[in-house]
Amino acid sequence: MPVQTAEPLIAATTAPTIVGFSSVEMKYPDGTIALSGVDLDIAPGEFVSVVGPSGCGKSTLLRLASGLEHASSGEVDVATDRIGYVFQDATLLPWRSVERNVELLAELHGVPSAERKAKAKAAIGLTDLTGFEKHLPKQLSGGMKMRTSLARALTLDPELFLFDEPFGALDEITRERLNDELIRLFAERRFAGLFITHSVSEAVYLSTRVVVMSGRPGGIVAEFEVPFPMPRDPEIRYSAEFAALTGEVHHALRKGYSA
């Protein structure tokens, strides 16, 4: 990464980014080109949602940011190693209680037992799981599982949070509750977020910026700043401004499909 020294001045004058993609192309070993020409910078304190047709490379974007995958060309720069990654599936270990699941990541990072327990307790409190510490995953509803997954990621105090359609499998009411919960966490913790969803209203409601991607090979076709103040007022969902903005995003998405 630090090899190039020819053109640092321009980059240095822009706002700090926590994760930056520049002309990223991702070609999987089987030849599938999942992403091409992707430029995206996310600053600390930003919460960016990505919407796009399925198969357009949204998950690939997160895999690149997390280091699970490496770009075949272009650059992905991540300025932190404290990354929380929440998958669509809660990926809880079924033999561990909620509490022990929440402790897992700190355990993998070698955090001493006492500190780990304290962090888990705090994260369980933040996600409103108190009282369910001893429950096993099979005793939990989908929403509770997802909260456990969130709590687990929170124990690492992430500076960058990656979400891959985390609430996609949940019913509408649970989903809205968790959206509000996430906004509260974001307002308190001020991590940077990169959130994948296929719900336009969820994207607009949660984020400071919405990015629209087009179909294969995936690229960014539109970006929208979301002007509503954080933390969001739940009532904003029913306002005319909100409807207008989701309309615009929908429109861009539709155009991306036909492109």
Binding site: L68, L93, H109, D128, Q139, A187
Partner: protein
Amino acid sequence: MTTTVWAPKTEVETKSIVKPAARRKSRVPSFVPPLIVATAVLAVWYLVSYVFLDQTRRFLLPPPHEIFTGAIFVPDILADIGLASLRTTIVALIGLLIAIVLGVAWAVAMSQARWLETSLFPYAVILQCIPILALVPLIGFWFGFEYPARVIVCVMIALFPMVSNTLFGIQSVDPGQRELFRLHGAARWTVLRKLEFPNALPAIFAGMRISAGLAVVGAIVGDFFFRRGEPGLGALISNYQAQIQSEELFAAIIAASLLGIVIFAAFGWLSRAVVGTWYESSDR
């Protein structure tokens, strides 16, 4: 938390654990149908003993109650059978224990490197395909005709289910969970200890149940062939048969069956005790 907007959590969010719907509520208690079958079998048995076999050939199938009066209630015979069962149990359990350790180790080794799997798995399959009975005389030839040879037969018969079940259990780890561990830099040993091994436990226990039954078979078969040393159930059965002591023969067969059932049930119980709390098995 002033910004919390949603209602206080209620029980609604906890999934109530619903038992899978019973096929149909039946008014007959579940023990009744097997009892009817048992009665029918006994009736046919008596019929054959008393009607189809004449006095001189009745030893081929003595009536059920004579198995009790002529063998099970006779202290000396009962002591012989009990002692032989104990020896067979010990051989089977030692063999099983070795098979469990070897089988799990073999599977773990294969799961850790692709090249180990490709070079070792064919032998697990071959082991499964060889009729072990064909090897039994050779085992006696090499290892003598006493306890060690009997144990080796048990191990060879009981090994494969342990290998294949453990391997399956390790390989069936959810890819998402694997990625989670990779993402957080877990070492291979950590992945094995905290993810693969616990994930494989239900399959390992299922393998143990199968292997336990096979180990009993192995112990009895080994006994038939390796007569030196104290007799186990196999030797006893073979002696009773040679001397046409049919009540004793039937009693020994019942003991062997009970042994199989008890060991199978014991491992079923162990499995439920260890993984039953979290594992959502389909058979219940």
